[in-house]
């Protein structure tokens, strides 16, 4: 078991954003996380990555209890993430952005600063941004920023990457390139993926198992084909009348 969450709860004042959510992810799995807007998907991701502290519950990653651990320690254990709205280091070039991931991520012995940047250029080549390595992040397009986020997460040598709505704002052509990119990442680096997505087509095609959140609670989990026909899920997305 790579990631195991037990009864995770997070309150923001009186609002319960995540309520007693339990889930587990095996090594090599591609798991989707869906839910309507405000269901608590990103909050769950922020809790796992150490961005928020939970009110109750337990998170285990690769056999280590990471509940309440600092984000950098969680990253060193091999848990990477991307952001829903890309958050590159605006004033740095694409190469330096990924360089931060290489040099700050999992400790790699005998890696100098120059070696780190060389490794970063390999990551940029993998996501198709080698030609833009010397471009400042603030001058990149949305697709390039998404690719940069993936490259930066990949550079930290993760075992599991949490991808937060990589398709948001992309046109169909860019979206299919992004899906191919994630697929290549899984094939070549054998990384486990925990994928938050609104685009159901992507979830149906790419994932093996889907977890559904609604009002901060886990309401279903299973193969995507079964999930989309579940009346509870249809009700959560489209309302009681249509269901």
């Amino acid at each position: 078991m790579l990631l195991k969450i037990e009864n995770l709860t997070k309150n923001f004042g009186g609002l319960v954003a995540v309520h007693e959510v339990s889930l587990s992810i095996e090594e090599g799995e591609i798991v989707g996380l869906i839910g309507p807007n405000g269901a608590g998907k990103t909050t769950l991701m922020n809790l796992i990555s150490g961005y928020y502290k939970c009110n109750a519950g337990k998170i285990e990653f690769d056999g280590v209890d990471i509940t309440g651990a600092k984000p950098h320690k969680i990253c060193h254990l091999g848990l990477g993430r991307t952001f829903q709205i890309p958050r590159p280091f605006q004033d740095l070039t694409a190469l330096a952005n990924v360089g931060v991931g290489v040099l700050c991520g999992k400790h790699r012995p005998h890696m100098s600063y120059g070696d780190g940047l060389l490794d970063a250029s390999h990551c940029l080549e993998f996501v198709g941004l080698f030609g833009k390595r010397n471009t400042l992040a603030r001058d990149l397009t949305l697709y390039e920023l998404r690719a940069l986020e993936l490259a930066r997460a990949l550079a930290t040598t993760p075992k599991l990457i949490m991808i937060d709505e990589v398709m948001a704002g992309l046109n169909p052509g860019e979206a299919s390139r992004a899906i191919n990119l994630v697929r290549r990442m899984i094939e070549e680096y054998h990384i486990t993926i925990f994928w938050i997505e609104h685009v159901m087509k992507v979830i149906m095609e790419a994932t093996e198992r889907v977890i559904v959140l609604h009002y901060g609670e886990k309401i279903a989990s299973g193969p995507p084909r079964e999930i989309v026909h579940d009346p509870k899920i249809i009700e959560a997305y489209l309302g009681e009348k249509i269901a």
Partner: protein, 344 residues
């Protein structure tokens, strides 16, 4: 430890660490030319001691601005009170020199230790206070210190300050003393520049840039931001304290009213911003420019007090990347530092 020469670099292997040191001379050309220019300047104007003092003052400004530029990038916050550490260094050197008769080299050790200690004590501020709050706290610190010097007048001598500090250089002839002190200040500034430049060109510079840009994302990438911010604040505070030590032993007097008040801080911040907005070499350009402009405008008489800030304000608003940016504008850069007071 193993050292090897590889592709114009010295590579050091220490346990599982690998460090590289570029030794290719073409990277040295422009810095060497600039250093030669700065070194020749005191010889050209050595007949006028007041100009030598002006150069020394510019070097003191630069020696504060250089570590400050690293600090503000490395902690991602605007420090409005670097003169607090100038005060720590200056008063420590002055008190030890006057009461115990210590020479400058003896007081230097204590100033370094005090700079590190106060830097470490105040460093948690970089993790607790964010954006404007950090700037406000650092703004108040030197003013509290100034009040402290007034309250304990018997120790710090209030407005008159401490005098009778053992001079840094005493070779008998006044003109020679001025010249040697000027070179001493230049050496201190260049040493500070060399250290900070080497640090910022290493992975530590990349960490500082990441923290300055978005510390939450930097932490998600695996960077221990609190550790690096504390380290950066402590070391740069010590470097600024050493400038206070130099000022105390150079002028022979040290008063809180000269260094701990707002005008000194404003001047340093203007040097950082007009020089090059976080560009290290810009700090020297800015320091020399501000010091010389201040001196040149004195011929205008009292109007100078209006013209001097006006000129600086115009430059601040028109030169987006400072004076050094005029030279660097068309050159490739990996990092465009942004200095601003953040909202969060």
């Amino acid at each position: 430890m193993r050292i090897e020469h590889k592709r114009a670099r010295l590579v050091f292997h220490i346990r599982d660490l690998k460090l590289e040191w570029a030794i290719e001379p073409r990277y040295w050309r422009n810095p060497l030319l600039a250093v030669a220019g700065l070194a020749l300047l005191p010889l050209v104007i050595m007949s006028k001691p007041d100009y030598l003092t002006l150069l020394t003052t510019a070097n003191i400004y630069a020696a504060v601005a250089i570590p400050l530029a690293w600090q503000m990038a490395g902690i991602g916050r605007m420090n409005f009170g670097p003169q607090f550490f100038v005060g720590i260094g200056g008063f420590a050197a002055a008190l030890l020199s006057i009461h115990l008769g210590w020479n400058p080299w003896q007081t230097l050790g204590i100033v370094i230790l005090l700079g590190l200690a106060f830097g470490l004590i105040l460093s948690p501020l970089t993790t607790i206070a964010k954006g404007l709050y950090f700037s406000l706290i650092t703004l108040i610190l030197p003013l509290i210190f100034l009040e402290f010097t007034y309250v304990y007048t018997d120790i710090f001598k209030g407005e008159t300050g401490l005098s009778g500090i053992v001079p840094l250089v005493n070779l008998g002839r006044i003109r020679t003393n001025y010249l040697v002190s000027c070179y001493f200040s230049l050496g201190m500034t260049l040493l500070s520049l060399y250290i900070v430049d080497k640090v910022l060109r290493s992975r530590i510079g990349l960490y500082a840039a990441a923290i300055n840009d978005d510390e939450e994302v930097a932490e998600t990438c695996g960077l221990n931001i609190n550790g690096w911010k504390i380290l950066c604040f402590t070391i740069t505070s010590m470097m600024i304290a050493v400038t206070g030590w130099f000022a105390a032993h150079y002028y022979g007097t040290f008063a809180g009213i000269t260094y701990l008040q707002l005008p000194f801080m404003v001047k340093i911040l203007l040097i950082v911003m007009i020089g090059g907005r976080g560009e290290l070499y810009g700090s020297i350009v800015g320091a020399y420019f501000v010091a010389f402009l201040e001196q040149a405008l004195t011929i205008l008489g009292p109007v100078n007090y209006i013209v001097f800030p006006f000129v600086l304000l115009v430059m601040l608003s028109t030169l987006r990347e400072g004076l050094y940016g005029l030279y660097r504008r068309h050159k490739y850069r990996e990092y465009y530092p942004t200095m601003r007071v953040r909202k969060r």
